[in-house]
């Protein structure tokens, strides 16, 4: 009961069976989260480094708490306050951390593929907490976990991912995991926010929200980075919201039991209306809770939790 690959940089690094194991473990972890005393000694004596080259509150906190709940020593390094700022190369930073005997390094970086350099430079296991526009595998795992809490299986579900696909690492990890699990994945965005060969990534492409939402079982709306307008990708927030914003009217095109997910933080009133985010089928807060459970499970599996251990 482990993950074969040393590092989790992409959803492609794990098999369907391994995904099932992670899910199984996350279920147990979720129970720990519901306890009054949320602390187990499983990772006592292990060290986890949060190496963040890009600002993040949610993901970093989620990993930090996951490590702490499991009893590990967690250290946060943010690029702004470390020697990274003084011009140290990533490879040197990585080796330094490695020589401090870190067991797991969680990294977020603003450049796609940066994790490859880190992973090949360290003995510690590396978990990708987001690299540029490439992947965010733990988000995909928690998305799948959240879906599986509500649906018996992912197989055959229509999953519509809506928003800035071009810049989204969430979309690129989600399409991989949901395809592995047998779903029918759709990407919906204005054409300027769609990668040019998106259809070859395993999703059905549409520029029409109506088409994407039609009979959808799951809707994942992505955060719109507001600075994309200044970069000329779309004319205005008004137009974006009019044609790609999820609201209580257009969600009716989807199935009545359609779940609404959002990786957060939300721009309410832009990619999702205030009311839509509060619908009973919106599971956005559950995603946050599940995020901690998934990360606990991963740290457990990758941080040296021995096979057969119970938590």
């Amino acid at each position: 009961m482990s993950i074969k690959a040393k590092d989790l940089l992409s959803i492609d690094d794990i098999s369907t069976e391994e995904i099932a194991v992670i899910m199984q473990n996350a279920k147990s972890m979720k129970q720990i989260l519901q306890r009054d005393i949320k602390k187990v000694p499983t990772l006592r004596g292990k060290s986890v480094i949060n190496l963040f080259y890009e600002n993040s509150t949610r993901t970093r906190t989620s990993f930090e708490l996951a490590g702490k709940y499991m009893g590990a020593d967690v250290v946060n390094i943010s690029a702004g306050t470390s020697s990274v700022k003084k011009g140290e190369s990533m490879r040197d930073t990585a080796r330094t951390i490695d020589h401090m005997s870190a067991d797991v390094i969680i990294m977020r970086h603003h450049e796609s593929g940066a994790h490859k350099i880190l992973a090949e430079s360290v003995n510690a296991r590396v978990i990708n907490a987001g690299d540029g526009k490439h992947e965010h595998p733990t988000q995909a795992l928690l998305d799948a976990f959240t879906v599986l809490e509500h649906k018996e299986t992912v197989e055959g579900l229509k999953i519509a991912i809506i928003g800035d696909i071009l810049h989204s690492r969430v979309a690129r990890s989600d399409v991989l995991i949901f395809n592995k699990l047998g779903a029918d994945v759709w990407f919906c965005a204005p054409p300027t926010l769609m990668p040019s060969k998106a259809s070859e990534l395993g999703a059905t492409i549409t520029y029409s929200l109506e088409e994407a939402l039609q009979d959808a079982d799951i809707v994942i709306t992505l955060r719109l980075q507001l600075e994309r307008q200044d970069s000329g990708f779309f004319p205005s927030i008004r137009e974006y919201t009019n044609f790609y914003g999820l609201n209580t009217k257009n969600i009716k095109w989807a199935r009545p039991d359609c779940l609404i997910l959002h990786p957060g933080p939300m721009n309410r009133g832009i990619e999702i209306s205030y009311e839509a985010a509060e619908l009973p089928n919106a599971v956005i807060n559950e995603q946050v809770n599940n995020g901690v459970a998934i990360r606990m499970a991963l740290l457990y599996i990758m941080g040296g939790g021995r096979s057969g251990d119970t938590v």
Binding site: P190, P191, Y207
Partner: protein, 429 residues
């Protein structure tokens, strides 16, 4: 109810060329056939010797409203169009202010409906205020009836912005109408660069200024799979680029203005500013090639680039005069006289270039002469010979180089929504 008798129906959609009677009721055709019986309430219109086609659409006009109503407005432009045989118009957005938003686009549609002579399909700006920087709200404009996008009057210089525009327009199934002109190469030119500009001492605009941007815009259409429509094509090389692109499966279409297949830069010899137009009148070689393209199907539409100006803008030296020709009221006669009667194109092709061709560029549903279809007709008298008289134009723009020219074949009647709105050139009030 109106019963149109004995019309030669030319319908490019169904490829019909047949003498037929057509009965209309309210806005629609209810019956077609031979020897239809007159019923009590029928008005009978005998169209023996006349040609009836689906209503013409002009893809490229300047209505000057808002901002320059002294040159033209929706009402005068609609009248000019109806008199010229049109039932639909695409006004360009280079007004003051620029039509780069849904409020202005909707205003044009509503004003058009109020005048009631032609459908207005606004062309929205590609970029806000036509500055070539930020995309305008294509989707919001489409919602109120805009069908295409253009920064007409200039090209989008920034290639990335043009790429984004082509990409973004795909979401709303709108073509980009490109005014192809490298502004740096064109400089302050006033006419085609060649023998005549050399002789007359006027600054020239080389054909390459147009061709380079046609090439760029075609490549961007290939990259994005967006729909690129080349406005007012004037050069042989440009036509060849488009012909090749079409062969390659790129979504490109184009239009040609009547002055570009009727006139050459040699006309400018007496410095008559009515011949000043952009793109400029080219050479005999270009004219020959364009006519070939009009005949063989490379060209999708004839569009006027109707550019009305007041006297003041034209009554000056050639270099300082405004570009543009008032074209709505002469295009049908020029095409019939210059192409059809010369044996260059068939009557079917003529109808295609002015009705089904433009409709298809705009992505409008095909309209045919069949029961259930809208009763928007352009009726032609192909044999009528008449002299162009700019003083009888409904357009405020009297800037026509064709004034005084005798032409054979004229619009006879325009029927809009089942109502005869124009007869023998005169708008019926």
């Amino acid at each position: 109810m109106i019963l149109f008798k004995n019309a030669r129906v030319i319908d490019p959609v169904t490829q019909t060329d047949q003498i037929l009677d057509i009965r209309t009721e309210n806005h629609s055709i209810i019956e077609t056939g031979t020897d239809l019986e007159a019923q009590n309430s029928n008005t009978i219109v005998d169209l023996t010797g006349k040609i009836l086609t689906t209503g013409f659409i002009d893809l490229h006009v300047h209505l000057r409203e808002p901002g320059e109503e002294y040159k033209e407005d929706v009402e005068s432009g609609s009248k000019a169009a109806s008199s010229g045989g049109f039932t639909g118009l695409c006004p360009m957005p280079n007004t003051k202010p620029v039509c780069d938003n849904d409020t202005l686009a909707e205003m044009l549609v509503i004003k058009g409906q109020r005048v009631g002579l032609v459908d207005i399909y606004p062309v929205g700006a590609i970029t806000k205020n036509q500055e070539g920087k930020e995309l305008a709200e294509f989707g919001m404009m489409k919602r109120v009836g805009a069908r295409a996008l253009s920064d007409d009057g200039k090209d989008v210089t920034n290639t990335l912005v043009m790429r984004r525009a082509l990409d973004y327009a795909k979401a709303f199934h709108m073509p980009i109408f490109a005014h192809c002109e490298d502004k740096y190469l064109a400089g302050s030119g006033a006419m085609n660069e060649g023998y005549y500009s050399s002789k007359l001492g006027l600054s020239g605009i080389p054909r390459e200024a147009e061709n380079i941007m046609i090439g760029r815009n075609i490549m961007l259409a290939g990259l994005t799979n967006g729909h690129m429509h080349i406005s007012h094509l004037s050069t042989k090389n440009g036509l060849e680029l488009i012909r090749q692109a079409k062969k390659d499966g790129i979504k490109v279409s184009c239009e040609v203005a009547p002055h570009h297949f009727m006139l050459t830069d040699s006309c400018i010899e007496n410095y008559d500013t009515n011949y000043k137009v952009n793109p400029p009148l080219r050479t005999q070689e270009d004219v020959k090639a364009l006519i070939m393209g009009l005949a063989d199907g490379t060209v999708d539409a004839i569009a006027t680039d109707h550019a009305p100006h007041d006297t003041e803008d034209k009554d000056t030296d050639f270099s300082n005069a405004a570009f543009g020709i008032s074209g709505l009221e002469t295009v049908v006669a020029l095409t019939l006289d210059g192409l059809y009667h010369q044996g260059k194109i068939s009557m079917m092709r003529f109808a295609e270039l002015l009705s089904s061709g433009p409709r298809s560029v705009l992505g409008l549903a095909p309209q045919s002469i069949e029961p259930g279809q809208k009763a928007d007709f352009t009726i032609i008298d192909p044999e009528l010979i008449k002299v162009v008289d700019k003083n009888r134009f409904y357009s405020k723009g009297k800037n026509s180089p064709f004034h005084g020219m005798s032409l054979k074949g004229w619009p006879y009647m325009t029927v809009k929504d089942g109502k005869i709105v124009m007869k023998e050139g005169v708008i019926l009030e």
